[in-house]
């Protein structure tokens, strides 16, 4: 990992600020955007505690009034705005926050994340239709089942790294979907219909109106944000950062890497299952096709686009990925083309994501950090194993 090349990197931090006129247009835009965000970050880091809380409260306030038609008329002229806010926006944000623990914190590339979403959704659908279980206790069961399945998937596979792990998780996502298609007990390809809505809460009825569901998912999102921040700043979070940046080195520091990777998987799965239960509670009907591979890919795109490992970035990424295609529904099928173009442009101009954490950017510059290179770690690992086998052949 950058071993043999001896570059005088010590001074790059000082001379990083190059003349903004140098370079082609893309490089210039990229630099000015990243400079502007640096300034913002520094402001934020220097802000007093009450100022930050003010911003948090304003953001929560904004989220609470978000479903109002005034905002909706601009944000979503083509679709019912409150429905959009629940699904896909709310669901995507919650899923992205969960995947962020796996990808952004621990640096594990998970391409089958939708499986946990499906497990949560099917838990509610099955137990509520077959045994009449109520929503809230089933939420706990669904979350637990998803976490357990995260451990079951992780235990044999987390010895793999990078691309190999990605392929196995991709397989897991498909296995769960195909199992659902082929299991008549849970409706097979027809899925499960007549999933009951949650019971009344504080006098609020949960029926077809998306608003109460939006507030459920909003409170869960806030809960998961607090949980993520606490985790990231704990001993666990430091261990994850070490694993993400250099797994072997982490083990040499005394970090039980395998156990912490498993924990990251289970935590991510837990949040995915949570999203699944809430989703199923709203939609009445689920089928295996609600959980395609492309959803895993979309959520991963949201995390990477927003800035993996950084919660505001991940939320922004998930919001944009969910919202943009709906906002431009007027462009009919071209919208997907534009959506793709926007994604490509963002990744070209800002490869570290829209709002990356400072640490993440340092990792990317170095070219390490598991997901930071999107499987590039494997390139390196196989390169070193080539060296080893070449060594052994001598």
């Amino acid at each position: 990992m950058g071993g043999i090349d001896e570059k005088p990197r010590g001074d790059t931090a000082v001379t990083d600020r190059v003349n903004p006129r140098v370079g082609n247009l893309a490089a210039r835009v990229r630099r000015s955007v990243s400079d502007a965000s640096d300034v913002l970050w520094r402001r934020w880091e220097q802000a007093a505690r009450w100022q930050r809380w003010l911003v948090y409260l304003m953001l929560i306030g904004l989220a609470i009034v978000a479903p109002s038609p005034v905002i909706g008329s601009f944000m979503s002229p083509f679709t019912d705005w409150p429905s959009l806010l629940f699904n896909p926006i709310g669901v995507y944000v919650l899923l992205a926050l969960g995947l962020n623990v796996v990808v952004g914190y621990a640096g594990l590339l998970d391409l089958g994340y939708v499986a946990f979403f499906a497990i949560g959704a099917y838990t509610l659908a099955y137990f509520s239709t077959t045994y009449g279980w109520l929503f809230w206790p089933t939420l706990v069961v669904g979350v637990t089942l998803a976490a357990v399945s995260g451990v079951i998937l992780g235990a044999p596979t987390l010895r793999l790294r990078g691309d190999y792990l990605a392929i196995v998780t991709l397989g897991f996502g498909e296995i769960v979907r195909i199992t659902a298609v082929n299991t008549d007990e849970i409706g097979g390809a027809r899925g499960i219909t007549n999933i009951p809505h949650p019971p009344n809460l504080f006098g609020v009825q949960f029926l077809l109106d998306p608003l109460p569901y939006y507030y459920i998912i909003l409170s869960l999102i806030i809960l998961v944000i607090i949980f993520s921040i606490r985790l990231e700043r704990s001993r666990v979070g430091r261990a994850w950062a070490a694993i993400r940046e250099d797994e072997d080195a982490a083990e040499l520091m005394g970090v039980p890497t395998f156990r912490f990777k498993l924990l990251a998987f289970a935590t991510g799965a837990l949040v995915g299952g949570m999203a699944g239960v809430v989703f199923a509670g709203k939609v009445i009907f689920i089928e295996p096709n609600n959980f395609p591979f492309i959803l895993s890919a979309t959520i991963l795109a949201a995390v990477v686009l927003g800035g993996s490992g950084n919660i505001p970035g991940v939320i922004l990424g998930a919001f944009l990925i969910a919202w943009l295609p709906e906002r431009f529904r007027g462009l009919a099928e071209y919208r997907i083309l534009f959506f793709g173009a926007v994604l490509v442009a963002v990744m070209a101009l800002r490869p570290e994501g829209l709002l990356p954490s400072r640490r993440r950017r340092a990792e990317l510059r170095e070219g390490s950090g598991g997901m930071g290179r999107l499987g590039g770690e494997v390139g390196c690992a196989s390169a070193s194993s080539e060296v080893i086998s070449a060594e052994a052949r001598q």
Partner: protein
């Protein structure tokens, strides 16, 4: 006997990287493993620190059989390693990297931090700099300092001279001997055989996964066969030193 490696074998797939390596390290020693590329030096260290599983053989450390112990527990037992390629956490600052080094031990690490900063004043100047933006020499210092944070009984160093300018190599080596003087046993892997042999008390010469020679370091320095193969005596038979790194006689404080 602090560390005893007994007939260990390590495989990468079907390829044997170590074909029965045995070595011992006594408390307070500096022991060097020298050899060409592919001799199995790094693999030996990885096997000792637990990054590579053994196919056969045993490793004893401090009176305990650690052959099946997971790597993170070997750190607690007292084995510290500065890995191949330094293994710095690029996104963490120097200080955070050092604190990661003490991860296995809970509680305050101020004493260890002070000691590392005293050994490496350069790191103290750069506490808040991201590890990934440091020069190779600084990263090597950080890797060694980080390993020291766990207060290891034995320090495993994998090619501390790799990719460094001669003056930095000399500096790093003098710090290694200082660390040893303060009571830490050192097991050192080096391609830079001349430097390593001047520093070490004893050395093992590895070739294709086997120990072919072991002797006091001073003896190996004058051994004609070792000179020919590893000290640049005869370029036709030489392997390690012919490719890029000339030996740097002198320079060691």
């Amino acid at each position: 006997m602090l560390l005893e490696v007994n007939e260990i074998e390590v495989y990468y797939g079907k390829i044997a990287a170590l074909k029965g390596i045995s070595l011992t390290v006594d408390e307070g020693e500096i022991v060097a493993l020298i050899g060409a590329n592919g001799a199995g030096k790094t693999t030996t260290l990885k096997a000792i620190s637990g990054l590579r599983p053994l196919s056969a053989g045993r490793i004893w450390f401090d009176g305990r059989d650690i052959s099946r112990m997971p790597g993170h527990l070997r750190v607690v037992a007292g084995i510290g390693q500065a890995p191949e390629g330094r293994g710095i956490f690029p996104g963490m600052t120097v200080q955070e990297n050092l604190l990661m080094g003490g991860y296995a031990r809970r509680g305050k690490k101020d004493a260890e931090l002070t000691e590392v900063y005293e050994l490496f004043p350069r790191l103290a100047e750069r506490k808040a700099q991201a590890g990934g933006t440091m020069s190779g020499g600084e990263q090597q210092m950080l890797a060694i300092g980080r390993a020291l944070m766990a207060r290891p009984k034995v320090l495993l160093l994998d090619e501390p001279s790799m990719g460094l300018a001669p003056i930095l190599v000399a500096q790093i080596f003098s710090i290694i001997s200082e660390i040893n003087r303060r009571g830490t046993t050192v097991l050192l892997v080096e391609q830079n055989a001349a430097q390593a042999l001047r520093l070490a008390h004893r050395a093992y010469v590895l070739e294709t996964g086997r120990v072919v020679k072991s002797a006091p370091a001073a003896e190996l320095l004058t051994d004609p066969r070792v000179q020919a193969a590893y000290l640049g005596g005869d370029l036709n038979t030489g392997s390690a030193l012919t490719n890029s790194k000339p030996a740097h006689p002198g320079g060691l404080a």
